[in-house]
Symmetry: C2
């Protein structure tokens, strides 16, 4: 019998290639403080962005299977790269529970917000190379023009803590120049790390460009989905997220603080 | 019977966490043009530098086992991170054939070259955090002072092709400032990617600092070892290296050109 052990009290499963998906955890916690969250970060194989589709799809299946052992009521794919290249793999491994990917949520919000019909998207090499954001946005509105740009250095710069650094500004100006020149009115942050650099990106983009954070978009979509299915957790307590990782490097504690703004809780190490 | 199938004609096995070890392949080819080389790059799990020792040691064993299937006459660990944290694991998995790591080769050369007894070392977070270069250098000469600095952005900057970029210069000036201030006379490039940025690093370090490329050091040590064992390949033909990778991302061809200066030959995909 499907869903035999799934109830409104079941957790929401969220996974990402690494720690970046914590921006999604934070947004879901803010939107849905009563929900239990179980998060898996594949820190042993991070990053997915520069890797091939075949490898990303294999990892996506394994990541989903790790979460499924905890009987979540739904799965959020916090990884833009997996959302772009392997969402079908996740849906298959998730069986009958719903799956939401950051990419589609961000694409939907961007197409609703854009007035001019010119949207910029930035992300990893794999996400941009897949053209998945452009396809998802044009599925919402085929008249929208999408200008995409891979920004491979943003993740390492954010993780190095070069948030407000002159080197990051130089790199960002170079990456964003073709988007600004294309007169976009909306810019999608198509990678979970990029909200860390949001204020610098916004200052280079200028006041005429609306920045879309896919983490917030996916949190809104999650609330709507759970409400429609009568699956919102009726509780009131906001428990700490249950954290699973495939590697626990020295820097993890520092990165957790960067992303979540709080101290690292207990984490569970799982094999991949 | 050990070595039953090992002969001077057997290949030299070389591995790295990714494509960076090709700088070692290039140096070995230059020093020993008659040798056959089999190279494994763990492109599905790269980078190792930010990961934990437990995970790095597991990967090191698996990488060695992949090369051992090809019956090499020796193994070169081109990965500084593995050389620092898991050389014993490689030696165990390699059985009776010799193993040389870039780290010890670089440390030996640096300690021979330094006049002032003040040596700088730069590398990934894991390599520097392990303190392995400092230990290896002080094993050569306990009086030498070693000043180390992790430079996590150098690999992504090199892979993005930002070789002569103002952002790279800003980052490099910041990373190298404490080393230059410490009046070192020798600087070890403790990561296989760093030779790509050698001229910028040298220009910031200034003419008084001798730059040690561990790839060249390991090639010299390999020649001496094979000569001593009567295991130099007597042939004359310089075959292309046999390339094994665990992932074949879009960017591989471009990166191969960056590291080797030639077009990508056929590669074989292996599972990890």
């Amino acid at each position: 019998m499907p869903h035999a052990r799934i109830s409104p009290e079941s957790p929401i499963g969220i996974f990402d290639s690494g720690i970046g998906g914590l921006t999604v955890v934070k947004a879901v916690q803010a939107a849905l403080p009563a929900e239990r969250i179980i998060y898996f970060g594949d820190t042993a194989r991070v990053p997915y962005g520069p890797k091939s589709q075949v490898t990303i799809r294999r990892y996506a299946r394994e990541d989903t299977e790790i979460l499924m052992k905890h009987q979540p009521k739904m799965i959020i794919v916090a990884c833009n790269t997996v959302s772009a290249l392997a969402l079908d793999v996740v849906e298959e491994a998730a069986g009958e529970i719903p799956v939401i990917g950051v990419l589609k949520a961000g694409a939907e919000l961007a197409s609703r917000r854009s007035g001019s019909g010119r949207i910029g998207v930035i992300g990893t090499q794999a996400t941009i190379g897949s053209n998945a954001y452009a396809c998802a946005i044009q599925e919402e509105d085929p008249a929208i023009e999408v200008i995409s740009k891979a920004c491979p250095l943003f993740v390492p710069l954010a993780e190095e803590g070069f948030i407000d650094h002159a080197a990051t500004r130089l790199v960002a100006e170079e990456y964003l120049a073709p988007l600004v020149a294309s007169r976009i009115d909306t810019l999608v942050l198509g990678c979970t790390h990029y909200p860390i650099l949001k204020s610098m990106i916004a200052s280079i983009a200028g006041p005429g460009i609306d920045i879309i954070d896919s983490a917030e978009a996916v949190a809104d979509k999650t609330r709507a989905l759970l409400a429609a299915q009568g699956m919102l957790n009726p509780g009131t307590g906001a428990a700490m997220p249950h954290l699973l990782v495939s590697d626990l490097p020295q820097k993890f504690r520092e990165l957790y603080r960067l992303f979540m703004g709080t101290e690292l809780p207990d984490v569970e190490l799982v094999g991949v």
